[in-house]
Amino acid sequence: MTDIAIRAENLSKKYHIIPERKPRYRTLRDQIANGIIRLPARAMRGMGKARSGEDDNARFGRDYIWALRNVSFEIKRGEIVGLIGRNGAGKSTLLKVLTRITEPTKGVVDLFGRVGSLLEVGTGFHKELTGRENVYLNGAILGMRKVEIDRKFDEIVAFAEVEKFINTPVKFYSSGMTVRLAFAVAAHLEPEILLVDEVLAVGDASFQRKSLSKMEDVGKHGRTVIFVSHHMPSITRLCERAYLLEGGEIIRTGPAHEVVAEYLSTNLGTSSSKCWEDLRRAPGDETVRLRGVRVKNQQGETAYTHDIRRPIGIEMEYEVLTSGTVLVPYFTLHNEEEVWLFTSIDTDPQWRSRPRPAGRYTSTAWIPGNLLAEGTLLAAAGIRTEEPHINHFYEQDVVAFQVVESPDRDTARMEWAGKISGVIRPFLTWETDLSR
């Protein structure tokens, strides 16, 4: 038995775009305009025409796009692979091809195992039906057998926390309850290959936590999962590997945290180092100018991705042009939501209140491990003088880096699986005494 679960070769998908003002479907009127006689033949040819696209192109010009171009990959049994990329990069199209909802235009996919897909929560839910009826209907739609649903029914209802309303029509449910029930059914799907689109972002925070840990369980049971999400922390937490899609192509594959880092840095336009070759154009004034800023690890290597447990160094290199000024370098740190985490001022006693001779300096601030929460962080660097007050420069969003959680259980996360709120995540010492 092969250990490959999914193999795709040169997968391409062409979509026809009918110009905006036209409806997506055609009316016979359009067809009549093109000749009544050809009508039956045209209707028959259907997809044949759409595939070659000749007729349409002649009429509308270039009106198709390749949503996927020559995508090839192999996923091993038991792997959890994340699929990331901007909107329109082809993620959803790839999932639709893999789930057989739509056919590829070119290429071959081999799937070894029972396939389950979850492209939407609550597909086929009917508001007039009761919770119980919807569980069966939705389960059947997702590919579960009746005996399987019978067996898991209580578990599903308990997971969704709707026990009391299970015989009430879903139209009387709150939207949260509906979504919980729908997710609960999907979460109990047990195929060998699971294809999941952005569906974890449902329900309130506590339910999301539960959903995410359920997904982690799925991974532990040796199932192969392809997981599409825009939520990078859940990609790095759930997936070992990730594919970055852009313009219908896989442009990067590798360990999830690296691919995520690349995606974020290209997306933010900020990387983990920045330097100014031409000092005259660098931030600063006649006293001091910034040469460069970088984020480094303990080994001194410039790095974008950092283990949550390890110290992170932010280093600035600057040129003091005029001797005799007291300089105070400082950093500020912001997260993705633009929350200002902290400001850190140079604490090195060596240069405290001491005028500096001209020359090239390097100052590094070390952020201890187990302090920042996972996520993307942006740093700003500045140098000021206090007496008289001068801000020589303050360069915002100069470097970015990412803090990632490792799957080992020795971080401040401990056994907690879901989202942990808070902008920092210190690893604190706890003491617990049994008093009686």
Binding site: M1, Y15, H16, R24, Y25, R26, T27, L28, Q31, A43, M44, G46, M47, G48, A50, R51, K96, V97, L98, T99, R100, I101, T102, E103, P104, T105, K106, G107, V108, V109, D110, L111, F112, G113, R114, V115, G116, S117, L119, E120, T123, G124, H126, E128, L129, E133, Y136, L137, A140, I141, L142, G143, R145, K146, P191, E192
Partner: protein, 297 residues
């Protein structure tokens, strides 16, 4: 039991060896994949069950509608055609003559309407989850059988009523031909489904179909001996040609099986052949168009 399924579609339900599914572009006519359809039979059941459950939700009269509709039609037809126009009815009371034909006709017309629109109304399923698309029109066509069964009870009541009235000219006749009734219902299903397979697939691309169906059923009703007896067409040759409308065979078969009117004869064969031809061509056309549904709908 290693099975490698070569062509595109394959099962999700067998257990021992992980099934192998190969996805690749298909060209032209594609196999019908009955095997896969069979594997998804539970989904067919659940979708039919859903249609039945929601049909009369949020109505005051509920399932009574299944009786009211044909009964009201029967009353109107009996009044205008039976009384005023003195339409012949093969020696049996016009109401029962008409009602026995309205049952399969209404089933047919309902199945045709629901089934032809089924893909469009299930577009949320079609764009979000894979299953053999044939299940959608089939389940829509099947769900009407419940209405048929409810309305059939009224027919039984009418048969008993007219039987007890010797002046009515109607007599219950028991015989093996009664057992053929389900076969005629099946023929109505095959016809409705055959036409719906064509129309539902076309409807995905051309929404005009939705507006065509009411006309189609209206004309078709007049082309079918529901309000008049087929004996109005006397020439045996033209009677056989009349059978090209499969519903002629269905309606005549129904009357013969239940009311003991003239047996349909060779037109029955013509109707069956035509119905099966529409059905099989519909299956293939549907399968051919199926792959575009999710992209166009």
């Amino acid at each position: 039991m290693a099975r490698a399924f070569k062509s595109q579609a394959v099962p999700i339900l067998s257990t021992e060896v992980p099934p192998h599914i190969r996805i690749q572009p298909s060209k032209g006519w594609v196999p019908l994949q009955f095997r896969e359809l069979w594997l998804y039979r539970e989904l067919l059941y659940f979708l039919t069950w859903r249609d039945v459950l929601i049909r009369y939700k949020q109505t005051i009269l509920g399932a009574l509608w299944a009786i009211l509709q044909p009964v009201m039609q029967m009353v109107v037809f009996s009044l205008f055609f039976g009384r005023l126009a003195n339409m012949p009815s093969e020696g049996i009371p016009y109401p029962i003559f008409n009602y026995a034909a309205l049952l399969p006709w209404n089933y047919f017309a309902g199945a045709l309407l629901n089934s032809s629109n089924s893909l469009v109304t299930s577009s949320n399923l079609i764009t979000k989850v894979y299953f053999p698309r044939l299940i959608v029109p089939i389940s829509s066509a099947l769900s009407g059988i419940v209405d048929f069964a409810i309305a059939f009870v009224v027919l039984l009541g009418m048969m008993i009523y007219y039987n007890s009235d010797p002046a009515s000219g109607f007599q219950l006749r028991f015989g093996l031909h009664i057992l053929l009734m389900p076969a005629f219902l099946l023929l109505a299903l095959v016809t409705a489904l055959g036409v719906s397979l064509w129309l539902s697939a076309l409807n995905v691309k051309y929404r005009d179909v939705r507006y065509v169906i009411p006309f189609l059923t209206q004309f078709w009703l007049f082309a079918t001996p529901v309000i008049y007896p087929s004996s109005l067409v006397e020439n045996p040759f033209w009677r056989t040609v009349f059978g090209l409308n499969p519903m002629v065979g269905v309606v005549e078969g129904f009357r013969w099986a239940l009311l003991g009117t003239t047996p349909p004869g060779p037109m029955m064969l013509v109707s069956t052949v035509v119905a099966v031809a529409i059905f099989i061509s519909g299956l293939f056309y549907f399968r051919r168009m199926e792959k575009t549904f999710a992209d166009v709908i």
